[in-house]
């Protein structure tokens, strides 16, 4: 079953008199529980695609259908609620809120929905991600790897259908990168979540179930769901 579909997805930017085609007709299908890696050179449009998939940016044209709903037609607030309930984001810069403790950061998306977090589940995530004992600490008191794990915990906390990771290991050393990635994969498998990850590191991309390559805003390889494993 396809949890995520894009149809002729385009994102154009006007830069003076020049039109930059960041995405130029992307057609993509991602199955539920799949671990997809998007690779491409810098400026290829991979981050733009991820942002479109997560409802962080609005496409110029085309459709983004997540769990059967076209998010490209949603209002700002609908999109916010969509992100809160259906997606979990992991950024390269972690983007943890500096005034909140690690625990508060993790449960924030759930709290924003006005519901109490499933403590057992949160406890489980914290344990798996090696954050036990760090709950009351502030982001600034943790190392980069710990902060990224906390960001991952936050992405998983609301049990989203899709976890979108934008260069999640970009700021980490190779050992920590592998740790974090292993955790993403494990958590995704354990909680049955679809993972879409951007990376420019081929070695890291190899850990994904499927890899697509984007060049000049178009999928040049791996767009077909049948292409599994290596590109």
């Amino acid at each position: 079953m396809d949890i995520l579909i894009t149809e002729d997805l385009k994102k154009y930017y006007e830069m003076g008199e020049v039109t930059v085609k960041a995405l130029d007709g992307i057609d993509l299908k991602v199955e539920k529980g799949e671990f997809l890696a998007i690779v491409g050179t810098s400026g290829s449009g991979k981050s733009t695609l991820l942002h479109m998939l997560g409802g962080l940016d609005i496409p110029t044209s085309g459709k983004v259908i997540v769990d059967g709903k076209d998010i490209s037609k949603m209002t700002k607030d609908e999109l916010a609620i969509f992100r809160r309930r259906k997606t979990g984001f992991v950024f390269q810069n972690y983007n943890l809120l500096p005034l909140m403790s690690i625990y508060e950061n993790i449960v924030l998306p759930i709290k924003l929905d006005g519901i109490n977090p499933d403590e057992m589940y949160i406890e489980q995530i914290i344990k798996i991600l090696g954050l036990k004992g760090k709950e009351a600490m502030m982001p600034g008191q943790l190392s980069g790897g710990q902060q990224q794990r906390a960001a991952l915990a936050r992405a998983l906390a609301s049990k989203p259908a899709i976890v979108l990771a934008d260069e999640p290991t970009g700021n980490l050393d190779s050992r920590t990168s592998l740790d974090v990635l292993g955790l993403i994969k494990t958590a995704g498998e354990k909680f049955g979540q679809t993972i879409v990850m951007i990376t420019h590191n081929d070695e890291i991309a190899q850990m994904a179930g499927r890899i697509i390559r984007i060049e000049d805003g178009k999928i040049c390889r791996g767009g077909d769901t049948n292409v599994k494993g290596k590109e």
Binding site: D57, I81, R84, N93, E104, L112, M137, M138
Partner: protein, 840 residues
């Protein structure tokens, strides 16, 4: 080491940086401008006000002196002249009164003789101008312009012949000795005492037979070396010169207190303005420097030193000052010269005419001081930001994240919007403190201004101090040939006016109270310890009292009041009187002056005679149920030193037969009604032996001052509020922009714009509520102090809640809406753009 000539480069960079920050610099210039303006205005108002008070006293007295000794003896004059603290001591003697000039009747035109010291050093400074010279020959005379005008002389000339009728004030002469004399005008002068007066020569003075020691005629005007003195100084002076029983050195003993109050008020206002200006300028530079810290880091990496960087920040502050200070001073000059002058004249002088130039202080030093203060504020405000810019290392500068570096572990909250808003409020403690202080200062000032406005609200004052709309007094009450003017017929006529609600009357008669040690002993002992009886012998006077209780020095008034009068008196006494006993004449209220407490009179039986009563020789007795002071006296006129007795009108009538109405107090159905007032006044049209105290007339006199105070007070409060609000806007704008990435992150994890706005609103409410609470804690006691020290009327302090609540609401609404507006205006790009924009 060789000195490198890099001043030019630093200057160029400073100029480039300055030009690049136009908005910031305009704001700073505005702050410097407002600070300069406020300091100059406050200085000028404070000093001018003090001058006015001093000048007013001089004008009212028609002379410039600090204290005076009535009826001085020669030995006293000598002693006073030799005293170290005395600058001048001049003699002034009132020797005659001119009744007529040709056929024109004059209103008590007094003729004075002043010795040279008195005229040159005390009378002359109070004159606007003088033409001619002081009378030398026996027939020479000098008049005030007002007197000459009353004589019908519009264009006086030296040498003019002035045939007048006068009588001397020599104690053995009587009013019948009218003398006709032709004087020669030797001079005239303009003064503002409002009295008709003239000066005559020493030779003429000698012919009148009046002596300086004659009761109420002679007076020694004393100018002290220091115009600030205490009551104890006067008492000491009295002892040193050995005053007689009727003498008392008179002077304003509150002068030091008033001076200190004014100085404290001025200093307080300056501190407030200084702090507001400091916070505002500091804040702008602080935000700007922390925002540009990377730029400063870059400058350092290319070799700029800390000193050069600091100098660059200070240079910008100097340029801002150069633009803001002169404009602030110019506006201050215009405002002081126009608005402030008018306000001060109305507030302080009332009906006394005085040229504006004489009151308003527009001295250069005030402007230099104000400019200096503003410059200092500007430079001190930049110190911290300059230090940050200068001392941050290039690498630190590139990574500078402001105040977030010190956030430590804290208790896990519930993650609600309230918790988030609360934490955000204090994320930058310095910013929070600046917001709170600037708001607290301006709101406190507003609270004080509100109270000052209340203290000068004409209707509020009049409703508090006068208990009727019009008060009509029979001026013949104390005369031997007094006349019943406020007759029952007139009262009935007034009552017939449909718009009159009530008429109450106060009657009075002379009474004789025999000496009674048990009832009045303590009171008299206390009375003779006061300054007012300092020169009098208690023993001698009591002896006189025992022998002649009917002596005018002791005889009090026997005052009759109606039911309404009883209600008011009883209320002010604390409801201690029994109506029935009062009506039946079983109890009375004693009204005394000058002493504190009841001196043990309450509950005692006093004896009295009524010489004007049905049985003049009969001794009556009545119990003193309560003792009141002069404020509670229902009558206008007081009697001798023994306390007056207030009884019920019914009882007074019983003993006196027909009572004499001293005053009537009338209430209208609609207060301040001009039509009703006209009708009431028409009942007494042409009657000159009454005086009228009208609430409407007082209101018309006072409302001009009220409006001016509202404008001045409101403007000062408004300027402070503008500074505080701009501070808040500025900080919130910087805060929201600095948190741009955080907002984008929050949105990325699912926070709706609505939730973000709610969080921002909560932050604003938090700032407003805490500031309002702090302002109430500081501002309300402060406003009480200001009220009690500035009110010229005996009105009770009350908080103007409606004005204050309006103010609080405005602050809360502004604090709530401003961050949301800033958010809407600044965070309109996509989440991704904002996230990228803030990535290092």
């Amino acid at each position: 080491m060789l000195k490198v000539k890099n001043e030019g480069v630093v200057n160029d960079i400073a100029k480039t940086t300055y030009k690049a920050n136009k908005k910031r610099n305009l704001l700073t210039i505005f702050a410097v401008f407002l600070t300069t303006f406020l300091i100059a205005v406050i200085f000028a108002v404070g000093i001018s006000y003090w001058n006015i008070v001093t000048e007013r006293n001089i004008r009212i007295q028609g002379m410039k002196y600090d204290i005076e000794l009535p009826e001085p003896r020669d030995d006293q004059i000598e002693k006073i002249k030799e005293m170290d603290n005395v600058k001048y001591a001049g003699i002034l003697v009132k020797c005659a009164i001119v009744e007529k000039y040709k056929d024109i009747l004059l209103d008590k035109t007094r003729l004075y003789w002043a010795d040279e010291t008195c005229f040159k050093n005390q009378a002359l400074p109070a004159m606007e101008y003088l033409r001619g010279s002081y009378p030398k020959k026996e027939n020479e005379i000098m008049f005030s312009i007002k007197t000459l005008k009353d004589m019908g002389i519009e264009k006086p000339e030296i040498g003019m012949k002035l045939p007048v009728s006068y009588f001397t004030l020599e104690q053995t002469s009587d009013d019948e000795d009218i003398i006709e004399k032709e004087f020669i005008l030797c001079g005239w002068y303009l003064e503002y005492s409002g009295n008709n007066r003239g000066y005559i020569s020493k030779d003429f003075y000698k012919t009148t037979g009046v002596k300086p020691t004659d009761l109420t005629q002679g007076s020694l005007k004393i100018t002290l070396k220091s115009p600030l003195f205490f009551e104890k100084d006067l008492i000491k002076m009295q002892k040193d010169i050995g005053i007689d029983s009727n003498q008392l050195i008179e002077g304003d003993t509150d002068i030091i207190i008033n001076f200190l109050k004014m100085a404290a008020g001025l200093i307080f206002m300056l501190i407030m303005v200084f702090t507001s200006g400091y916070l505002f300028i500091y804040n702008i530079f602080y935000i700007s420097v922390t925002k540009d810290i990377r730029y400063y880091g870059q400058l350092k990496t290319v070799g700029m030193t800390s000193v050069q960087l600091k100098r660059m920040v200070y240079k910008q502050a100097v340029w801002n000052s150069l633009a803001g200070i002169p404009t602030g001073l110019c506006l201050a000059f215009v405002v002081i010269k126009t608005i402030v002058a008018r306000i001060l004249i109305i507030v302080s002088l009332g009906y006394i005419e005085m040229p504006v130039n004489n009151i308003i202080v527009l001295k250069l030093w005030i402007f230099i001081l104000a400019g200096g203060f503003a410059f200092l504020t500007s430079i001190i405000s930049c110190k911290k930001p300059a230090d940050i810019a200068g001392e941050c290392s290039p690498v630190e500068a590139m990574r500078y994240i402001g105040t977030l570096k010190n956030i430590k572990r804290h208790k896990i909250g519930n993650g609600s919007l309230y918790t988030m808003a609360f934490r955000n409020m204090f994320r930058d403690k310095k910013q929070a403190v600046v917001i709170f202080i600037s708001f607290t200062i301006s709101v406190s000032i507003f609270l004080v201004v509100n109270v000052v406005i209340r203290a000068n609200d004409s209707k509020y004052i009049l409703n508090e101090v006068s208990n009727c709309d019009i008060d009509i007094l029979n001026e013949t009450t104390l005369d031997d040939d007094r006349e019943q003017i406020l007759t029952d017929e007139k009262i009935s006529e007034i009552k017939k006016i449909t718009s009159v609600e009530s008429v109450r009357k106060v009657t009075s008669a002379k009474t004789v109270v025999p000496y009674d040690e048990d009832v009045y002993g303590d009171y008299y002992k206390e009375l003779y310890k006061t300054r007012y009886y300092a020169g009098q012998s208690y023993e001698d006077d009591m002896e006189l009292y025992k022998q002649d209780p009917a002596h005018g020095f002791f005889t009090p008034r026997f005052i009759g009041i109606d039911d309404y009068g009883f209600e008011m008196l009883n209320k002010s006494l604390g409801d201690v009187l029994d109506k029935e006993s009062f009506d039946n004449g079983e109890i009375a209220v004693a009204i005394k002056f000058f002493t504190e407490g009841d001196s043990g009179m309450t509950g005692k039986i006093t004896h009295f005679y009524l010489p004007e009563g049905l049985e003049p020789d009969k001794e009556y007795c009545i119990k003193i149920a309560a003792v009141g002071d002069g404020q509670m006296n229902p009558a206008h006129f007081a009697g001798g030193t023994t306390p007056d007795l207030v009884v019920s009108e019914k009882y007074a009538k019983k003993l006196l037969g027909e009572t004499f109405t001293e005053r009537i107090c009338i209430n209208y159905k609609e207060s301040y009604s001009e039509e009703t007032e006209e009708e009431v006044k028409s009942v007494f049209s042409g009657e000159k032996r009454i005086s009228i105290d009208s609430k409407l007339e007082s209101y018309n006199l006072m409302k001009g001052a009220e409006m001016q105070i509202k404008i001045l007070g409101g403007s000062i409060g408004l300027i402070m509020a503008v500074l505080a609000l701009l501070n808040y806007f500025n900080m919130m704008a910087a805060g929201v922009q600095n948190r741009s990435r955080e907002f984008a992150t929050l949105e990325s994890i699912g926070m709706t714009v609505k939730q973000i706005k709610k969080m921002l609103r909560l932050e604003g409410i938090g700032y407003a509520v805490i500031s309002v609470i702090a302002s109430m804690v500081i501002g309300l006691p402060l406003s009480y102090i200001v009220f009690t020290n500035t009110t010229r009327y005996l009105i009770k302090f009350s908080i103007p809640w409606i004005n204050n609540l309006f103010l609080f609401t405005v602050i809360i609404v502004l604090c709530m809406t401003v961050p949301v507006i800033i958010y809407k205006k600044t965070q309109d790009t996509s989440i991704i753009e904002r996230l990228k924009c803030n990535e290092n």
